[in-house]
Symmetry: D3
Subunit: 166 residues, 6 copies
Amino acid sequence: MKTAVYPGSFDPVTYGHIDIIERAAETFDKVVVLVSINSAKSALFSLDERVTMLQQAVREFGNVEIASFDGLVIEYCRQHGIHTIVRGLRAVTDFEYELQIAQTNRELSQDHVDTVFLTTDLRYSYLSSSIVKEIASYNGNIQPCVPEFVARAVYAKFGFAEVEAK
Amino acid sequence: MKTAVYPGSFDPVTYGHIDIIERAAETFDKVVVLVSINSAKSALFSLDERVTMLQQAVREFGNVEIASFDGLVIEYCRQHGIHTIVRGLRAVTDFEYELQIAQTNRELSQDHVDTVFLTTDLRYSYLSSSIVKEIASYNGNIQPCVPEFVARAVYAKFGFAEVEAK
Amino acid sequence: MKTAVYPGSFDPVTYGHIDIIERAAETFDKVVVLVSINSAKSALFSLDERVTMLQQAVREFGNVEIASFDGLVIEYCRQHGIHTIVRGLRAVTDFEYELQIAQTNRELSQDHVDTVFLTTDLRYSYLSSSIVKEIASYNGNIQPCVPEFVARAVYAKFGFAEVEAK
Amino acid sequence: MKTAVYPGSFDPVTYGHIDIIERAAETFDKVVVLVSINSAKSALFSLDERVTMLQQAVREFGNVEIASFDGLVIEYCRQHGIHTIVRGLRAVTDFEYELQIAQTNRELSQDHVDTVFLTTDLRYSYLSSSIVKEIASYNGNIQPCVPEFVARAVYAKFGFAEVEAK
Amino acid sequence: MKTAVYPGSFDPVTYGHIDIIERAAETFDKVVVLVSINSAKSALFSLDERVTMLQQAVREFGNVEIASFDGLVIEYCRQHGIHTIVRGLRAVTDFEYELQIAQTNRELSQDHVDTVFLTTDLRYSYLSSSIVKEIASYNGNIQPCVPEFVARAVYAKFGFAEVEAK
Amino acid sequence: MKTAVYPGSFDPVTYGHIDIIERAAETFDKVVVLVSINSAKSALFSLDERVTMLQQAVREFGNVEIASFDGLVIEYCRQHGIHTIVRGLRAVTDFEYELQIAQTNRELSQDHVDTVFLTTDLRYSYLSSSIVKEIASYNGNIQPCVPEFVARAVYAKFGFAEVEAK
């Protein structure tokens, strides 16, 4: 059985992430969405909130589970006997950085962990968690970017009572 | 009448910005230079200082005005019935980021606001406000980068009495 | 009145081109779509066929006209008093090449002709005339890429009786 | 069972291709290496020669087979019920082109065929069939680039009696 | 005699840096590795620690010396009559930024200081000081990335008693 | 004494090439401009014409000589005991291709030949021999791109009696 790990911050999960999760779920037998506990970057949502939103977002996919880990992704892979990391690609700047991380992981795992890249649907190619948060901070419309239950949670963090209706 | 908005931080305005403003002023009937009030990034100059320097820098262009706005650029466009955003392009890294922002703005405005990209003169293709500030912080020569009245203001912020004469 | 030239081979016109023409028609008072007579590249369609297909494709836009020219685009601009070239951008490789052409045109016209870049709708960001022709050569489905009357003409060139219906 | 297609010209197969085939064979249950019959590009080796060299090169991998097809890759996928295309990535220029092809294939297959990207080992990131042929045409040393039986075949095509021994 | 300056933060020195230093030492008569005193970025190692580690790392190269400077690199060049800056290149994102800095330095030095770019060995093309620090912060294995005496120093900073032995 | 080889087609030499030659001549003790005899690409000028134009173009530089070679650049380096290749960089697309060639040369020479990259003056960053030829084929103005004696030779090849005077 081929299992793949899809690591990220998911702060919060967007339609772009969900698109990659769906594609990975079709390509591999099982997909573990791994929420990184990154103390360096200050997150808008707590680890628990991010995991809970992801669980709701992937409910419909039978072969996807959510996990979190405080350490290097390749260490998680080693502990769980997983050999494949999945990453989404949107643009050239992404690609360079992702390629660097992929090569580092391959070196550090002594060639036992490989990274496969999937590309998002064109509709979501502009999306990122950062842009969602920036738009929401001005009470802009984030409904094309995230599921409604995520939108409500994001607006609440910025003190807006409900989803705007412009 | 075709009006375009040219948004940015302008902290401070450089010859690169002025070059784009001049090109935009020749391409469109009217250009609004929109200074963003970005509380996240700590600026060297106050909003008032940035607006005042811009006003002096564009004095010679008859169809350019300076404005500021605390919100999303597309919200400003919606309120003022403007359909075109102008952005300057220098390099690939710029391009990827700018393309992402342009697509986001188009999606969020439901296709009513489009972004047109202009390229700077080759002489200014290396310029950015950040580089100007870094050079000035070491009392380096920023006179090829900004008008003299801007240079004096930047040196003053870093505690240098006057424009260096190396 | 602001007029812009949109030059290209249009061999044949695709939905990506039509998207840029529509955006240019909203941004400028008048748009001239200029079909280049490039003897170097062997075209699938004759100049007349390319012009005729473009005329049908832009019929609905009131401020767009089709022209052809055997020479440099900036020479056409000089002869017709036009100062703006429009180009569509899809990707980084595009961008580098387009930037090179834009700077060349600016230099050669002594700064009298500037290039503005528009970005295509995400749905068409993968499209090019070359890909359309390659797919059609295998009797693949090009209906998501070009108007139906163009599709029929392309299939005919490759000896396929009608639009495939897979 | 997850099957992936790895399409290409393989004119001739290089260590870079073999590296991707090995990674794909570890990631998927079965891998079909699909040699394209591209009449447009003039190949150094005949289709039969390319298939035979590939068969020898992948002999050690139990779940890899070689096939050829005269048509679009997605048509091959449709006929064989395959949903995954594998492609190797080396550089940014690659990436842009590959991304364009991947999006086209997804659109044309109505989202039934997805592309996953694998990255080559750093040692082979500079390699391509074209570079191998250019070096060999000057009787340069291609032994770091291709298996020895391939090197002999390439030198023979260029009229060199045997592998050079500089 | 041709002298070149190789500036950087070296926080800490990696095998990638050492590879560039070795190549520069073969290309130029003398190489000065210039450690920048950048108060803006918070460094893991003090200036003294960084200089000491570099001195140990370049011990074997006869024509390399270590220096530090609180100012612009071109000002150091001016004071010491040096006309060449060396920089290592790994990726496109690097390249754009480095090109911008190179052009700025050339402009500010009135064309008296030029930048030459060297590329790292493929084995080190994924390496950066930031990645080394991130891996080490999780007690990951950084031995493929830095000399052993550097690895020990990095682990000590993160409170790990010794080099891990996974 | 440090000698560097600057290889290329130089069909014809442009101000961009001359700029790189000048920078290389300042950086190294001696520079050999190596005109490649590439039978694959059809050149506008014969090898003799290209060498003669280069000789005239570099007359003022005391430490530059022109040579030609029918083989791989690294083979020329091996025969003449040279360890450095110089290449000019303009853009990202250039960079990727150049990096690939540089790594290939390093591998094939067993690490004895390294490539250093210089960047052209911003004024020439848009220039290439191909663009010069395309402009001249339409009797466009190439005087900002090449020395006058080169311009006359290019116009003559396209059957234009003299340098245009628009």
